[in-house]
């Protein structure tokens, strides 16, 4: 049984009006009557009936005009108008429809047909009502969703932009809502002055794709700032994502560790399309291939942190992209693919225009803009050319320890798995006076440690690195020997001395190797090809003093500071 409706009858003929009104009342509805169009419009405005029965030809104002006005007043709400007419000419029926009529009822009236039409119109009216309600609900939900995304993005931007994407050697392109495509781009200076860069792509879209970005960014920035290595960061991110993400959600990512001073890049790619090392001289494109499963799939025991190392020259560029580029699809269902990308590379003359050219190629391929493309390019530049803020430290600095010494010995098993540098750095920057030099201290520690480990403990020959093949060979030997390492040690002796108006740090590093002639190596390094390590030269440059005991066992470096400086 349909609900009781309030129905407006507009009919100039009194007998017909009475008849219709009675029929409708008998069917359980409330009837309102008007004897011309103008009355009908006024009554509609006053009573807002849900349905109108409208005679076409009436004095004062005809049914067509009245229908138009009533439809206008009704707005989005559907107020069905049934024209009462014995009009037989097609033209007149068209006029009824054009005026907003929804149906017709011919004279003489048939009660059964009238009832059926009222019911049909009532269904239509309710349907429209439901559609409007649902539309409003969807609009409301969408508004909530967009607002949530805005908030999430604002929070995320604070985390993501704590990095160094603005550094002059980085160029990148990302849609403002890349986060909700699952794309993520992070870059941060290491304490040593090098740079970590991560391009990631989470499975899926929307909030589920964005949710993993936050913890990933926290780990990336937190660990990079503390001096953790690429593999440690990778392992931590992988373990964290594996723990928090639902099964089936993961993050394809490439992580770069660039050392401007040593002029190398370490690359780990799990699941992203090939990135490229674009050589400045000769224009060679070295693919940076995905060798691993994405992050967040494997447990810690199965996770593979092997990375590749490439030597860099000034002006070399490392280019990474998300799958949005290669998987851009045109109307014919073809994918953009690598071949088209390589054509853009080949045609490119000015590096600065590469991104624009890729976008242009995508635009002409698809016929419209692609909005889920993430591109980043990092250039190898002179070490000193990047300005960066001071290291940030937590801790109050109220009670700075000043007069102490400590010795550490890291042995075989530990050297294989543990990176002591973040640990030592954290200890040293407890000393407030050392904080302004934190970056230099870290760089020197890192150099001394890799020197001791690679040449002393592992017995690697640094002159191997003089050419590209040797370079690769060197790093292969390094991981092979490290994996086999059982014995050997690296010792750090740290001594803090209070001096008038400031203090002094003396770091001495020894290893289990056969010793070396630091002075001779330094002189040799200053001469030979620049692919070779510049380690000792750097140490001398960054520290205040640098000495080698005559027995060749160990190196000693010093840093000093003035209070309040």
């Amino acid at each position: 049984m349909p609900a009781r409706l309030s129905i407006l009858i507009a009919e100039d003929n009194a007998a017909d009006r009475m008849l219709l009104s009675t029929i409708i009342s008998r069917q359980g509805h409330r009837s309102l009557t008007a004897s011309n169009g103008l009355e009908a419009v006024a009554l509609f405005e006053q009573e807002r009936p849900q349905l109108v029965l409208m005679d076409a030809l009436m004095p004062v104002m005809d049914g067509f005009e009245a229908a138009r006005r009533i439809k206008q007043m009704a707005g989005e709400e559907l107020v069905p108008i049934i024209f009462l007419t014995s009009l037989t000419e097609g033209e007149a029926l068209v006029r009824c429809l054009e005026a907003g009529g929804d149906d017709f009822l011919a004279k003489p009236y048939n009660r059964v047909i009238l009832e059926a039409k009222i019911n049909a119109m009532d269904r239509l009216r309710r349907l429209q009502d439901t559609v409007l309600q649902q539309r409003d609900l969807i609009a409301q939900h969408n508004e909530y969703l967009l607002n949530e995304q805005r908030v999430a993005k604002a929070v995320f931007d604070k985390v993501a932009h704590s990095g160094c994407l603005a550094a002059p050697n980085i160029r990148y392109l990302q849609s403002p809502y890349a986060l909700f495509n699952g794309d993520l781009l992070l870059a941060a200076f290491k304490p040593s002055g090098g740079m970590h860069v991560l391009l990631g792509d989470f499975t899926g879209h929307g909030l589920p794709a964005a949710i993993g970005a936050m913890p990933l960014a926290e780990v990336f920035y937190g660990m990079t700032a503390k001096g953790y290595s690429l593999t440690e960061i990778l392992r931590e991110i992988n373990a964290k994502l594996k723990r928090i993400l639902p099964l089936g959600v993961f993050c394809c990512a490439t992580l770069l560790n660039i050392s401007f001073q040593r002029r190398v890049v370490e690359v780990w790619n799990g699941g992203l399309p090939d990135g490229y090392l674009l050589r400045a001289s000769g224009g060679e494109r070295v693919p940076l291939v995905s060798r691993h499963l994405p992050l967040g799939i494997l447990d810690a025991a199965a996770f593979n942190d092997h990375y590749e190392v490439f030597p860099l020259e000034l002006g070399d560029r490392i280019f990474l992209l998300s799958d949005g580029v290669l998987e851009a699809c045109n109307q014919q269902g073809e994918l953009f693919g690598e071949k088209r990308l390589h054509r853009v590379f080949t045609a490119n003359r000015q590096p600065a225009l590469l991104f624009a050219e890729i976008q242009q190629a995508l635009l002409s391929f698809r016929g419209e803009l692609q909005d889920d493309v993430s591109l980043v390019e990092v250039s190898m530049v002179e070490e000193g050319s990047l300005s960066r803020g001071p290291l940030t430290f937590t801790g109050s600095g109220q009670h700075s320890p000043l007069d102490w010494s400590a010795s550490f010995e890291f042995r075989g098993e530990t050297l294989r798995h543990f990176n002591p540098l973040p640990f030592l750095l954290q200890l040293l920057i407890e000393v407030e006076g050392l904080r302004p030099q934190g970056g230099a201290i870290y760089s020197v520690l890192a150099e001394l440690y890799s020197n001791a480990l690679e040449h002393g403990v592992l017995g690697l020959d640094s002159s191997l690195k003089c050419n590209a093949e040797g370079f690769a060979e060197y790093y292969q030997q390094r991981s092979a020997r490290l994996a086999q390492l059982r014995e050997g040690y690296v010792r750090f002796h740290l001594q803090l001395l209070s001096e008038s108006g400031g203090g002094r740090l003396i770091i001495r590093v020894e290893d289990s190797g056969s010793g070396f002639d630091g002075q001779a190596i330094l002189e040799q390094q200053l001469r030979i090809d620049r692919l070779c390590g510049r380690g000792l030269a750097l140490i001398r440059q960054l520290s205040e003093r640098c000495t080698w005991p005559v027995d060749g066992q160990g190196v000693s470096v010093e840093f000093s500071w003035l209070a309040g400086a």
Partner: protein, 101 residues
């Protein structure tokens, strides 16, 4: 996109055939294909012969199947991958988790 599943006569193997695009839209249907069968097959085959495209959500769904089939002990073969699909599986290094033939 259409997904059908077909157990072998001895019930030891379940073949899931995927037609068309294999992406997030297939989520429920793909789960149903292995969850709504009243048997516990030892091996699974995912036939991608009619699969034109596969995205990262599909890779996630394959991981879910792998978990359902026993995680590291799962025996799952991916059959008849076209070059595009094979490329995507290769980039993700999924051959470390699945037998791709």
């Amino acid at each position: 996109m259409a997904i059908t599943s077909l157990p072998s006569p001895d019930g030891q193997e379940l073949t899931i055939v995927i037609q068309g695009r294999f992406d997030f839209g297939a989520h429920q249907e793909f789960r149903d294909a292995y969850e709504r069968v009243n048997l516990s097959p030892k091996r699974y085959v995912v036939d991608l012969k009619g699969t034109t495209y596969l995205d990262s959500s599909a890779l996630g769904m394959l991981l879910l199947l792998r978990d359902h089939a026993g995680g590291d002990h799962a025996q799952i073969r991916l059959l008849n991958c076209n070059p595009d699909v094979r490329k995507i599986l290769a980039i993700s290094n999924f051959e470390q988790l699945f037998q791709i033939t």
